[in-house]
Point group: C2
Chain length 187, copies 2
């Protein structure tokens, strides 16, 4: 059984202008379960680039909260557009369970078609290897390094103010609020 | 009596390099009392400049949460170094009570001496007119547009995870974490 104060990190990226290539801000928020914010970390990833796995695992690894962390929550697996994260590599590099959270069942075939069309076939395997998307309550998850039942246990603790884990909700608010001047979106 | 879910905003600035003139990031975090984060807003103020009152009141005014807000908490009255806020003007512009929170009794004489030394005599009146610094539990506050007893009532609701109001604690974490890559300091 996880403690109510289990330390977790939730990661989201900021909105960006698709017409401009460059870096976009990524925020990781460290929570005690679903109640108290302990700290935040930040990094930048290349829009439509290839460095999200490397940059995000380095951000988690160097954090002072690393020794306490018990799980990484990701808001989807595309950071900075098509800078797709290899969640198996992220799990291997950090030795932490990774849970990807999305609100709707992703259209995998369409994503793969798009990656082919824009010449990013090399990223299709990150999508394939991220595993089955499973319904968990009213949201959908993929999980690595943790069983489905343990993942659902963590969600129960961390989803306190909305359908999604609190550290993802707050990272989304911070990333958009810093970038746009005011936080946006359904959170 | 305030409700437990009373909407408040807590504002703090980010760390900056004193040798470099320029803007520094300011974060406002909107909370329901001391429990749930509703959103954030951000702006920039000039290090040692004169625009903090104007920039911060505009940030609060344009926010979509403005109609619900019942109080502004400030982490001290110097934003971006000696860009001192005129809290009476901030109160007037936003029609909201303003509560300044500090951890230690400020050395007013020394601050005034410093402002004279660096040729910022014009800001001394903001310090004088901010009113008496009063002990409220284990912290110190100044207040405008609200009585001392009502201010203490709000503090009781909003100081849930530390001595200071949760929206100030979280704004501090966000501002330093976005600027430095990892949040720092005693919060």
């Amino acid at each position: 059984m996880y403690k109510k104060e289990v330390r977790v990190i939730g990661i989201d990226d900021s909105p960006f202008d698709k017409r401009v290539k460059g870096d976009t801000l990524v925020i990781g928020t460290i929570f005690r379960g679903g109640s108290s914010l302990d700290g935040i970390v930040s990094t930048k990833v290349r829009v439509d680039g290839n460095n999200s796995t490397e940059k995000i695992s380095a951000m988690v690894e160097r954090s002072k909260w690393k020794p306490q962390l018990q799980c990484i929550f990701l808001d989807g697996i595309g950071f900075g557009g098509f800078n797709v994260i290899d969640i198996n590599e992220l799990h291997k590099k950090t030795s932490l369970p990774v849970i990807v959270v999305v609100r709707r069942m992703p259209d995998k075939d369409n994503i793969i078609k798009t990656l082919r069309k824009i010449g990013m076939e090399d990223k299709i395997r990150f999508i394939e290897e991220a595993g089955e998307v499973k319904k968990a309550g009213r949201i959908y998850i993929q999980h690595v390094g943790i069983t489905f039942s343990r993942a659902k246990e963590l969600l129960k603790i961390c989803c306190t103010h909305s359908l999604i884990p609190e550290p993802i909700r707050v990272s989304h608010i911070i990333a958009s609020g810093v970038k746009l001047g005011e936080s946006k979106g359904r959170v």
